[in-house]
C-alpha cells in the first residue's frame, strides 16, 4: 500500500495585490500535485524557487490543509500535526535552552513515552548520529553539522513512520553536507523510514533519492518523476562518477533547465 498519497492536491493563498492598493488576489502555490510514496521509500523533491516546496511540506506536516484534493497517509486523510511524521528543518529549530539530550526528550515527552525510557532512547539516538559524547551540550556549543544531527535524532527518537526533511543540509559546508548525506542513507537503511527530502541541489537529490520528483514553479506542479536505479550508494566511494549517476543527474538537470524555467532562479 502507498504510505503517502497526493490526490490532485491544490493549495491557493490570498496575498496582497501589488497592482491594486488594499486588495487581495488569489495565488496558486501548488496545482494538481498527484503522486504516491511507497512505504520505506526515500524520495527527493527538487525544483526552482517558487515551486511550492514549503507549501507541500506544510501540508504534509498538517499545519495547513489543501484547498482542493486530498493528502493521505496510510489511506487516512491528514487533518493535523501528528507524531507519525517527524520534521527536520534547514535551520535546525533546536530549542536553545535545552541540551542535546533535552531536545530529544522534548519529542519523547510530546509522544507520551514514559519518562523511565527517555534516557535509554535518547542515548540510542545520540549514538545513532554519533554524538553520544555531546549529550549535555547546549545547541550554541555545537557546530552546524552537529546541530543538524541532533535535529535528526530528535525527529527519529519518537519513532515516526515518515521523516520530512526541508533542505536540511543547505546551510552546511560542502564537506559536512557530504558526510551527513551518507550518514542519512545509513540511518535510512537501518531504520527503514519513509523519507521525503526537499532540496535545491540536483546532485543531492540524485544521490539520495530512489526517485526524484522534479517540480515546476508558479504554480508548483510535478513535471516528472525520475527513477534513480543506483545500487550500493554507500559502498561506491566515488558514486558521482558512476555512469548511472551521471546520466540521471543530467536528466534532472535538463528537466530543470527547459524553456519554462528560463528566467527562474534555481
Amino acid at each position: 500500500m502507498d504510505k503517502i498519497r497526493f490526490e490532485k492536491v491544490t493549495k491557493t493563498f490570498f496575498i496582497r495585490d501589488e497592482k491594486k492598493k488594499g486588495a487581495q488576489r488569489e495565488f496558486t502555490a501548488i496545482r494538481d500535485i498527484d503522486f504516491s510514496v511507497k512505504e520505506g521509500e526515500f524520495i527527493t523533491l527538487v525544483g526552482p524557487s517558487g515551486c511550492g516546496k514549503s507549501t507541500l511540506l506544510d501540508l504534509l506536516t498538517g499545519l495547513t490543509r489543501p484547498t482542493k484534493g486530498r493528502l493521505l497517509i496510510d489511506g487516512r486523510e491528514i487533518t493535523g500535526p501528528g507524531l507519525d511524521r517527524g520534521i527536520v528543518f534547514q535551520q535546525y529549530a533546536l530549542f536553545p535552552w535545552k541540551t542535546a539530550r533535552g531536545n530529544i526528550e522534548f519529542g519523547l515527552e510530546a509522544k507520551g513515552i514514559p519518562r523511565s525510557e527517555w534516557k535509554e532512547r535518547s542515548e540510542y539516538y545520540l549514538d545513532l548520529v554519533g554524538l553520544k559524547k555531546f549529550a549535555d551540550r547546549y545547541p550554541h556549543e555545537l557546530s552546524g553539522g552537529m546541530k543538524q544531527r541532533i535535529a535528526i535524532a530528535r525527529s527519529l527518537a519518537f519513532d515516526p513512520d515518515v521523516l520530512l526533511m526541508d533542505e536540511p543540509f543547505a546551510a552546511l559546508d560542502a564537506q559536512t553536507r557530504e558526510t551527513l548525506q551518507s550518514e542519512l542513507l545509513r540511518i535510512w537503511q537501518k531504520t527503514g523510514k519513509t523519507i521525503i527530502f526537499v532540496t535545491h541541489g540536483i546532485d543531492e537529490a540524485v544521490y539520495l533519492g530512489e526517485r526524484v520528483v522534479v517540480l515546476t514553479a508558479n504554480p508548483g506542479t510535478v513535471k516528472k518523476i525520475v527513477d534513480i536505479p543506483l545500487k550500493h550508494r554507500l559502498e561506491d566511494a566515488d558514486i558521482k562518477s558512476n555512469p548511472v549517476f551521471v546520466e540521471k543527474r543530467h536528466e534532472v538537470w535538463n528537466l530543470l533547465h527547459e524553456p519554462e524555467f528560463i528566467g527562474a532562479h534555481i
Partner: protein, 273 residues
C-alpha cells in the same frame, strides 16, 4: 555628588570579566580592576586636605567614612536603609507579579498587543517622577504613595519587554513544536516562556535600576525615613559628611541590586551565547 553615579553604572556585566581573563595573575587582574577606583578615593581624600576644593562642601574621604561608621553603629543608617530597601523591594516585586503575567497574556494575543502597545508606550515614556505630585495628592505622603510610584516605574519596562519577548519568539521554534502536535498550553510554557526569559530579564534589570532612582527622589520630597529623606535632612542641617555617607550608601545599594539581578540574569540565560 554626580561623580558617585559613574562607578555604580559601570559595574561588571560578567562579560567584562571574561575579556580580562588573559591577565597573567590574580593580583594583576585585581590591580587592573581597582586602580582607578583607588586613585579616585585618593583624590577625594587629598583634594580637600590641600584646599583644592572647599573642605566644608566636600569633606575628605576618611571623614565621610568615619561619619558613615558612626551612623552604622548607632543604627541610624540601618533604619533609613531598611525603609528604602523594603519600599523598593515591595514595589519591585509587586510590579513583577503584575507585569509578567499581563505581558505574557498581551504578547500572546496579537489583537491585545495591537490595542495596548501604544498606551503602554505612552505610560512608559511618562517620567514616573513627573507623576509624583499626583501620587502624593491621591495616596498621601505615607508608604502607599512611595510603593505605588516604585510599582509604576518598574511595571512598564517589565511589561513592554515581556510583550516583545513573547512576540519575538522564533516562529520556527513554534512551528517545530506545533508539528509535534503539542497543546497550546504546553506550547506556551514549554516553548514561549523559556524562549522569552532573557528578554524579560532585560526588562527586570531596567526596572531594578529604576526602582532605586525613583524611590530616592520620592523620599526626598516627602518622607520621615529612607535614604533619600536622610540625604536631604543631612543637607538642610549642614551635616555634610553624613550627607556623603548617605550618598555612598545609595551607591552600595545600587551596586548590590545590580549585582543580584545580573547574577540572576546570567543564571536564567546560561544557555545563551
Amino acid at each position: 555628588m554626580v561623580s558617585f553615579d559613574k562607578p555604580v553604572q559601570l559595574d561588571g556585566k560578567g562579560k567584562i570579566q571574561k575579556a580580562s581573563a588573559h591577565s597573567t595573575s590574580f593580583l594583576g587582574k585585581a590591580f587592573k580592576k581597582s586602580i582607578v577606583l583607588i586613585l579616585f578615593v585618593l583624590l577625594w581624600e587629598i583634594a580637600p586636605q590641600y584646599g583644592l576644593v572647599e573642605k566644608t562642601f566636600l569633606p575628605p574621604f576618611s571623614e565621610v567614612v568615619r561619619a558613615w561608621w558612626d551612623l552604622l553603629v548607632t543604627g541610624e543608617l540601618w533604619r533609613h536603609f531598611e525603609a528604602s530597601i523594603l519600599r523598593s523591594l515591595f514595589g519591585f516585586i509587586l510590579a513583577l507579579a503584575v507585569a509578567i503575567p499581563l505581558g505574557l497574556l498581551i504578547g500572546w494575543y496579537p489583537l491585545a498587543r495591537d490595542l495596548f502597545t501604544p498606551i503602554l508606550e505612552l505610560f512608559r515614556n511618562t517620567a514616573a517622577l513627573a507623576l509624583l505630585p499626583v501620587f502624593i495628592l491621591i495616596l498621601g505622603i505615607g508608604e502607599v504613595s512611595k510603593i505605588a510610584i516604585v510599582l509604576f516605574a518598574c511595571t512598564w519596562p517589565v511589561l513592554l519587554n515581556t510583550i516583545s519577548a513573547v512576540k519575538n519568539v522564533d516562529p520556527l521554534l513554534i512551528k517545530s513544536a506545533r508539528s509535534m502536535n503539542i497543546s497550546s498550553f504546553k506550547l506556551f510554557y514549554k516553548v514561549i516562556l523559556p524562549a522569552s526569559v532573557p528578554t524579560i530579564f532585560t526588562g527586570i534589570r531596567m526596572a531594578g535600576t529604576g526602582a532605586i532612582l525613583v524611590l530616592i527622589a520620592a523620599e526626598m520630597v516627602g518622607a520621615k525615613a529612607g535614604l533619600g529623606y536622610f540625604i536631604t535632612y543631612a543637607q538642610y542641617n549642614f551635616l555634610i559628611a553624613e550627607m556623603y555617607a548617605g550618598i555612598l550608601t545609595i551607591s552600595l545599594l545600587g551596586l548590590l541590586i545590580n549585582y543580584g539581578l545580573s547574577s540572576a540574569e546570567r543564571y536564567f540565560s546560561r544557555w545563551k551565547q
